[in-house]
Each structure stands twice: as structure tokens, then as C-alpha cells.
Amino acid sequence: MMPPILRLNNVSRSYKTRNPDGWGSTVLRAAADVTLDVYEGQTLAIVGESGSGKSTLAKLLLMLHPPSSGDVEFRGASLAKLDKRRRSEYRRQVQAVFQDPSSSLNPQMTVEQTLGYVVRRHDLVSDADQRGFLLRQLESVGLEPADHYLTRYPHQLSGGQQQRIAIARAMMLEPKVIIADEPLSSLDVSIQAQVLQLMLDLRTRTNVGFVIISHDLAAMQSIADVTAVMYRGRIVEIGKDVYDKPAHPYTRLLLDARLASNPRHGRIRAAAATKTPTVRSVRLEGGCSFRDRCPYAVEICATSEPVLRPVGAGETKAACHRADEFSA
């Protein structure tokens, strides 16, 4: 396999947050000792609940935030130490798509101005060829007739169309990898399916890799080659098969929380009438950070922090002391 294009090498990122009572501040470790490889042509999904640190990983990979410790590497070189030529190469080869296209597109610029800016900034084609180039870009993300869209402002487009423009803007530099932070969650399900399909098509056509940050396990199952599950700043499981053979109890908890897709298999109606208390989970010192919610926690979980390690014979890795028992 080719070496990874991007690599998080034992990266941590902390944020200072004000305490709710207003006195003093707390240091929050949004990413803690994360090591992760991103390859060209591969779709890597990062899933987890809100606050798990998945968007922090996207920001680190995009150089929007520097790591507090550890290194983010582009083709083996630390992002912090890239020279001008390599930095420009990085900016071309690593592109971003965000959650809310209406705020990631400039409302005062037409589609032609938004995309044309990138063409000139990176000197992609001559001014004379720009229009034809942009039309081809729009067609490649399924916006036809393309000339109809060039003169439009973002507010004249639907959410799905806006997200296609954002994807076209990322794709026109022929990037090796696109970092997409919740690219589906502001879209309707039928539009989500179209955008997912577009990403699959682009990958087949151009071998672009994707890092998709999402809380939607069902959508990621249909598109991801490899899935990393995050919990409180750590990757607790990573592998190809996490949906069918979860090795970490947290992955299992997430999968169990999926709603039924068939009313005959609904659990809520079947199980009704048990009073579910709200769980106020607390950050525990030492040991496994999931142990307060884990039904399988034993003594060792409180004393020793599990590290990400291979489980069974497969390629899955999990950070759980008891992972081997579950996957057996």
C-alpha cells in the first residue's frame, strides 16, 4: 500500500473552556493521543456523538487548528514545518467540504465568482478558458444545464445544490483527499442519498480519498471503507467491519441506538413502560473513559487505560480490555 497522504501522529488538542459557574476554566482534551492514517482513494469515516472530538480531527487535518502536542503530517512531513512550495501542494491536494453549505459559500458572490476565484488563485486555466472549465466542473457534480447555475447566488439554490457547488469547488483542484465535516446532516434524506452517490462516483472516477465526519452510522455504513469510532477525544475502535462485528462496547451501544427500519422490529413499542433515567455521565480520572456507561466494566477498567490494539485475527483495532471476549 502507498504511504498515507495525511497522518495524525500521536496528536492531542486541548481547549480551554469557561466553567459553567463562571469561575475559572477547565482544560478539555478534545483529541487525546490520536494516531490515524489517511490514504488516497480510501473513504475513512469518523463517527461518534457530539463532543467526541470528531470535528477537532477534521480541523487538525485541515490545519485550521494546530495540535497541542504530536504531529500532523502531509506525505511524511510535519504540517508545521512545510516550506512554501510544499504548503501550496498541501493546500491543493487536501480540500474541505463543510456541514452547512449556505454558510461556507459567500452569499455576495455568484457561483461563477466563487469558483472563478479558486481558478485564478491556483492559476488552473487561462481566463479565456475559464467559463468552459467551470461548466465542465458543474456538470461533473451533476448540475445541469451548467450555464443555468453560473449566474446564481447561493440563496437561489437548494441545500443539495449548494452542497454540490461546495463539492465542485473542492474537486476542481483535483485533490487527493477531501475532508468533509458532516456533509450530509443539513440535507433531506433523499438529497443525502444523491450526495452520497456523487461522492462514490467521484471516488471511482478520480480516486480521490474522503475523510467523512458523521454521526450517521447508517449513511457511513453504505460508503466507508474504514470507520473510526471516537469517544471523548479518543479513537476507541477502527476497522472495516465495525457495523457488523463491533469490538468495542461503545460501538455496540451506538449501533443499538439506531432506530428500526421496519415497524415489526421496533423495540420501543415492544419494550414500553420501563422508565429510562437520564444518565449524567461524568469524566472520570484514570482508567477507561467509557467505564461509567459500560455494562461490561470490571476492576481493571478503573485502574488501567486500554490502548488501541488488534482484536482477534481481523484488521479491527479496539481500545477495550475485554474486546477479545466480545469478538470471540
Binding site: V189, S190, H215, S261, G266, K275
Partner: protein, 274 residues
Amino acid sequence: MSTAPSAPLLRVSDLKVHFRVADRLVRAVDGVEFEINAGECVGVVGESGSGKSTLVRAISRLMPNLPLDEVSGNVAFEGRDIFAMNDRELRALRRSRGFSMIFQDPLGYLNPTQRVGRQIAEALSPDGRGRPDRVRVQELLDEVGFPDPARVARRFPHELSGGMRQRVMIAIALASDPKLLFADEPTTALDATVQLQVLETLYRLHKERNMAVAIITHDLGVVAEMCDRVYVMQTGKILETASTVDLFEKPQHPYSARLVSLSTHRLHGAGGPE
């Protein structure tokens, strides 16, 4: 599930809500027929812009703050015409044994400067007469699943998580002991594990109180888990109404079929026109 009762709890006939946005006429609700029986759990599914939220707001006479072009039709709650009521009658219905509503974004509907307990007490006695009923406040918090009601009552909304805020909203909605609860995308903003807990709570209250629930959602998973019957809505019109099992197994309208297929296989049905 009750079988063919004489009159439904709520009957909406030929409801139209048309308004103007930037000089464009929007037929948000366009001739809708809709019924809920006592003690029933009904789903209204549709994508954004389908008019599902306008529909339930119009039923409780919460109209969009826009130039209204046409509001017509008939909304009858226990046989009484809601559109013909004066404000006092409507208020009485909202305060006691009528209907209540919860929304997607609880933070937008809770007062940030008041403790949760006080806001529930206010819902119990909207005219502010009498002493705040602490016992009843704690009973309600207990009923929506808080293990420590006295503690939660002293919290401010910002000190609670999203799931806890939604439970507080439910407690406020229950204060009037409603016969019908409208829930507009109640769990859309919540994480999956929290969503499941809140839906379980809603379903338990629906059963324990024999309270009818109408859930407005874009997520057929919520319908599969909760609803006896479902309406499918698109561009202001009801396309199909069916029992939940029938909708999933024998959808009659192509649009419903596509929504069902997408809820099981996220990539199926892709490629159609936007």
C-alpha cells in the same frame, strides 16, 4: 389502538394555509384532511418544505408571522371548532385537558434566566395565582425520567444537556394534562443514544396517560418505532395515509416508497431530480 370510535379527538378538513414570502405565494398547507383518535400515536412524515410543521402549528392556531393569503378549512377538537373559538376559549383548551406542543429546539422555548422548576410551575398555574406547586413540579420531573427531580428543578436551562432540556419541555407540556401532544421533530437535534431515551419516555407517557401523540418527523425510523398510523406529506398535500406496517410493506405512492427505501438502504433511490 382503538377501533372506529364514533368521533376522532381531532379532525382537520380541507385545511389551507397560504402565505406570501417575498411576493411569492407559498401553499404550505393545501387542502389537508387529517384525523387523530384519542390515545393514538400518529406520525406526519415529510422532507423540509413539505408543510408538516406549518400544519401542526396551524392546528393549534400558531400561524407563521408572514402575510397570510388564505387560511381556511375546519379544525375540530372534540367536535369544537378551534378556528371559531375566541382567545379565552383557546387559552382554556391549551391550559387544561387540550393539546400541548414540544419542538426540536428546547433552548429556544425555555427562559434562560429562570430555573427549570419555576418554568414548570408557571405552566401549572399560568395566571400566577396561588403558590408554586413544588410537589407537582417534582412529580412531573419524576414522570419524564429525572432520577433527582428536586435537584433538576433548581437548574437553569443552560446547565442541562440537550436530552434533559427536551425532558423539561415535555414536563412543561404535560402540566396541562393534555389529551393530545404535538411533537415537532422532538429528537432531531439529539445524539442517537439520547434520542432513543427521549423516544422511550414519550412512548411510555403516551401509554401511561392514554395521551394521543402526533409526531412530526423526517425520520421514518422514529415512525417505525413509535407510530400506529402515519401521514406522508409533500408540498402541502397529504400523499398517503396508512397504518405504519402497511406504509413500510405496501407503500401506495411512489414518493412514500422512495422514503421507505431510503430509510433502509441509504443509497437506494438516489439520482432522481432535486
